[in-house]
């Protein structure tokens, strides 16, 4: 606990910087008594253990993966086209952009996470990811409506290569999805060994979102991606649960 308290000011600084997306994290520990040697074996920092809680107006159900489990009807689910929902895997600590946990994705799975829509107006969506290839374009991020199988355009990466901190930022303005079932669909490119780490996802009404510079233009999704999204969307809608679940099916 002593160390955690010592690092708290640094942690707050990191959180503030996380919001603008420029600070590598976790921050390097500073010990005033001796200069740090070149190439420490690890750096140590402090995060809000509940993740980006300060972003309470984030419309993503669990934008930082801190309150999502690995199965059941969670804010995020991992979807295998041939099996349906499968176990959601994670990475932790400084491997993540913020908080304690972040999602990991491997072929052939897709990640689907719910968000809410305002009654009117477009929605600013951002997502950070680290594709194993370090080519930001190897990840597809699409705003979709699970109710009608309608897909919005794909959100493109803001750069071809990751930023200095290793993260790619995907951003765009999705159309309003009021009265529908909005979700973010994340899938990997065709490379069969490709994996990715995903963290810090936000959806905010346009106008309330922090300025991130000019967004790249949205592009229509291709037919193959649309087909994969349709499969996931139909499966998720068809497996919505209405009950107490397995835990209450016998004596407690």
């Amino acid at each position: 606990m002593r160390r955690a308290l010592l690092l708290l000011p640094l942690a707050l600084a990191a959180c503030a910087d996380d919001k603008t997306g420029s600070q590598p994290s976790p921050p390097i520990t500073v010990d005033a008594s001796a200069p740090p040697p070149a190439g420490p074996r690890r750096t140590v920092g402090h995060r809000n253990p509940l993740g980006d809680a300060f972003q309470s107006d984030n419309l993503v159900l669990d934008g930082d993966f801190e309150l999502t489990g690995r199965s059941d009807q969670a804010p995020w689910i991992t979807f295998d086209p041939s099996q349906g929902q499968v176990t959601l895997n994670y990475d932790t600590g400084g491997h993540c952009r913020s908080g304690i946990r972040c999602a990991t994705l491997a072929q052939p799975d897709a990640l689907v996470g719910y968000f809410a829509s305002p009654l009117t107006g477009k929605i600013d969506i951002k997502l950070y990811a680290k594709p194993s290839t370090q080519h930001c374009a190897d990840l597809q991020v699409v705003a979709i409506d699970l109710m009608t199988n309608a897909e919005d355009a794909e959100l493109l990466a803001t750069s071809q290569a990751p930023a200095e901190d290793g993260w790619c930022l995907y951003a765009g303005e999705a159309d309003n999805l009021a009265y529908e079932e909005p979700a973010i669909y994340v899938a990997l490119g065709s490379n069969k060994t490709l994996t990715a780490t995903i963290d810090e996802v936000s959806a905010l009404p346009v106008g309330e979102a922090p300025v991130h510079g000019a967004f790249p233009p949205l592009v229509p999704i291709d037919a193959a991606t649309k087909a994969r999204i349709d499969v996931a969307s139909a499966w998720i809608r068809g497996h919505r649960k209405y009950g107490v679940g397995e835990k209450a099916r016998g004596p407690q």
């Binding site: 606990m1 002593r2 160390r3 955690a4 708290l8 976790p26 520990t29 010990d31 001796a34 420490p40 074996r41 690890r42 750096t43 140590v44 920092g45 402090h46 995060r47 809000n48 253990p49 509940l50 809680a53 300060f54 309470s56 159900l61 999502t68 489990g69 690995r70 059941d72 009807q73 969670a74 349906g84 176990t87 895997n89 994670y90 990475d91 932790t92 600590g93 400084g94 491997h95 993540c96 304690i100 946990r101 968000f115 009654l119 109710m147 009608t148 999805l177 009021a178 009265y179 529908e180 079932e181 497996h239 919505r240 649960k241 209405y242 009950g243 107490v244 209450a248 004596p251 407690q252």
Partner: protein, 665 residues
């Protein structure tokens, strides 16, 4: 998660006096806290019996040259630790990586009449490393070392690394004291009274968010309730109380007050799906292997009048031993209150609180009665009745502390709101009431030659890719039955296809409602109009209808549906049966009105909570959440029936089957 203790690794501290306390140096090298009384570096190989746990030698261990990778399926892994023989308070820390580590320290004492076992749970502190490790900590927990307790570090994970456990003295020792539940000032700050002992709540929950973050954390939960919860009815009726509870936590003085307050807020959403799975549990005191039901104490209202708001609470069935209560006996009061009112008053204490959306539905409270009494009641008032002369003795108040000791050897039956079964050898076990293993089906015991009355007992409404569990039963019923009693007096729900299928043989085809998606539009239900409801009904109907019945239903077969504690898809199913034709009739209690789906959130130590989301739209634009499905005959067990082994609702259903005049057309 079951526990399996397989390793007696006892580690005492031997850290260097020059080391920095439990932290990392500028190079990122870790040192245990020199004040630690227990350190464990996970350098030893786990024994072969520890399936799923392996020693990993790697240069990126937090401490030393290795760590454990824990990938266990069902059982937790326990490591024995030796704590000093002095009474003291400690904190514990450990590092984990890649997926969650669910960890706790369990302290148990000899059976010497002193305070009971205690536990401390690990949650993330926020400290992380660039190579993926994160620190988990406990809040301070007190150990009465002078009683020579047994302590274990218990971990469970599906693919997580664990390293560098330390236990360090911290805080002032706090002796456990006996208390009188449900609330006893003797417990003091951040403690609550459960099962006769003050329990320090802080070691059970995460650290208190610091003041600089607390408003953000409250705002985060508040936004989850505001943006995704409900249900039109539940948002209008219950949400304001829940958010007000959250808003009262800004000045919470300690971790327990804060996190228990968040849980209380969830309870005040007052919704059937919106429940909490606590990361901790304490055994009840006193032996009470008894299941209760809502009933009509027709033989004892002279001595104890009926409450104007609630049904009476009667004994439905009991375990084979361990109680002198028997079917038909009456639970008049708990702590001087109506038993249902008592259970429902505990929303700030009982993390298992479970409420229906319909404010007039209380079967959930009655189902949990025995468990709640054993933990939070001081006394119960009962009436013993005599079947030989149909009389009941005067009310008798019994201290819960005076109930026989429960040594763990007694059978507690499952409380499924069914006083009796009627399927003979084809039915559930009449002692354990294992109706959760259904469906059970066959000719009912009371069927006379030529009647061919069949019955079915089951607890859910769920179809998935693994198959249709109901089809064998329904195939037999539709092939051979001339009348059917569907006993769904405990209905845990499932999914809409399940509800649809269960209606299919008995009624004509129709689409009777449309499911909304999850509540994912800000303000949908807060500015509701009938016109909007009708428009959305039309919008949702193509993609998410509620179809019922079939093209060739057996409408010449009378079907009696028994209900008592039913929610969600087990609301949908009776809704699909209700009013469908003269061959279908509903008996018993109305349902929970839980016409929604849910999201489940998940934190450390299996601490999960669900938030209901969505509603059911009717063709006129109205919403159905909050209004249970009424039965055609609202009927509860009579005391005079229970004591004689008669099943009131079932017998009335049987009578209808035998006397109905338009039910076979």
């Amino acid at each position: 998660m079951q526990r399996r203790s397989w390793l007696a690794t006892i580690i005492l501290a031997s850290a260097s006096a020059t080391a920095h306390a439990g932290t990392f140096d500028p190079n990122g090298d870790f040192s245990f806290d020199p004040a630690a009384v227990v350190t464990f570096g996970f350098e030893e190989a786990p024994p072969q019996s520890a399936t799923g746990v392996k020693l990993v030698h790697a240069g990126d261990a937090v401490d030393g040259a290795s760590y454990w990778n824990v990938n266990v399926d069902q059982n937790s892994v326990d490591v024995s630790i030796a704590l000093p023989s002095t009474d003291a308070s400690y904190v514990a820390r450990v590092f984990a990586r890649t997926n969650r580590l669910l960890a706790e320290i369990d302290v148990s004492y000899p059976k010497d009449g002193g305070s009971p076992a205690t536990q401390a749970h690990f949650y993330p502190s926020g400290t992380v490393t660039s190579d993926g490790w994160y620190e988990l900590v406990t809040n301070p927990f007190s150990v009465q070392g002078s009683r020579k307790p047994t302590a274990v570090f218990s971990v469970y994970a599906n693919g997580a690394d664990v390293d560098a456990l330390e236990v360090v003295p911290s805080g002032a020792y706090r002796a456990a004291v006996a208390c009188s539940p449900p609330v006893d000032p003797a417990c003091g700050p951040h403690a609550f009274c459960e099962s006769g002992w003050c329990r320090d709540g802080n070691p059970l929950v995460p650290p208190l968010p610091p003041p600089s973050q607390r408003g953000d954390v409250i705002g985060y939960f508040r936004a989850r309730w505001q943006n995704y919860f409900g249900g039109r009815f539940s948002r209008v009726t219950y949400l304001p109380n829940a958010t007000a509870t959250l808003d009262g936590l800004y000045d919470a003085p300690d971790a327990w007050t804060f996190w228990n307050g968040v849980t209380t807020s969830i309870h005040r959403l007052h919704d059937w799906h919106t429940t909490v799975n606590a990361p901790f549990s304490f055994g009840g005191r006193g032996l009470l292997p008894v299941c209760f039901v809502e009933g009509d104490a027709d033989l004892s209202h002279g001595a104890a009048p009926k409450d104007p708001n609630y049904y009476d609470v009667l004994v439905s069935h009991v375990g084979p031993a361990g109680t002198d209560l028997k079917p038909g006996d009456r639970l008049v009061a708990v702590n001087g209150m109506h038993p249902i009112a008592f259970v429902e008053s505990l929303d700030a204490l009982d993390w298992g609180m479970w409420r229906a959306d319909d404010p007039d539905t209380h079967a959930e409270a009655v189902e949990r009665m025995s468990s709640v009494i054993r933990r939070w009641a001081t006394n119960i008032t009962v009436m013993h009745c005599d079947s030989s002369n149909d009389t009941c003795a005067a009310p008798q108040t019994i201290a819960v502390a005076d109930l026989p000791v429960d040594d763990g050897s007694y059978t507690y039956p499952y409380c499924d709101h069914r006083p009796l079964y009627h399927l003979g050898a084809n039915g559930p076990n009449p002692v354990t009431h294992n109706s959760y293993n259904g469906p059970f089906y066959g000719v009912v015991d009371e069927s006379q030659p030529g009647e061919n009355i069949y019955g079915m007992v089951w607890n859910d409404a769920y179809l998935d890719n693994s198959g249709n569990a109901y089809q064998p039963a329904y195939d037999e019923l539709t092939a051979n039955a001339d009348a059917v009693v569907l006993d769904h007096r405990l209905g845990n729900g499932g999914d809409v296809p399940g509800a649809t299928y269960l209606t299919s043989p008995w009624r004509a085809e129709a689409t009777i409602a449309a499911n909304t998606p999850f509540d994912l539009t800000i303000g949908t239900f807060d500015s509701w109009t009938s016109n909007l409801g009708q428009q959305l009904y039309q919008d949702y109907l193509p993609n998410d209808p509620y179809p019922v019945g079939s093209a060739s239903p057996h409408t010449n077969v009378p079907v009696a549906l028994l209900l008592a504690r039913d929610g969600s898809a087990s609301d949908w199913f009776p809704l699909g049966m209700q009013g469908s034709g003269p061959n279908v009739r509903l008996f018993g209690r109305h349902t929970a009105g839980a016409f929604s789906s849910y999201f489940v959130f998940d934190y450390y130590d299996n601490w999960t909570w669900r938030i209901a989301s969505g509603d059911l739209l009717m063709p006129d634009g109205s919403t159905h959440l909050g209004t249970g499905v009424p039965t055609d005959e609202e009927i509860v067990p009579l005391q005079s029936d229970l004591m004689h082994g008669r099943d009131t609702a079932y017998l009335r259903a049987l009578d209808w089957i035998r006397t109905c005049t338009t039910c076979r057309q």
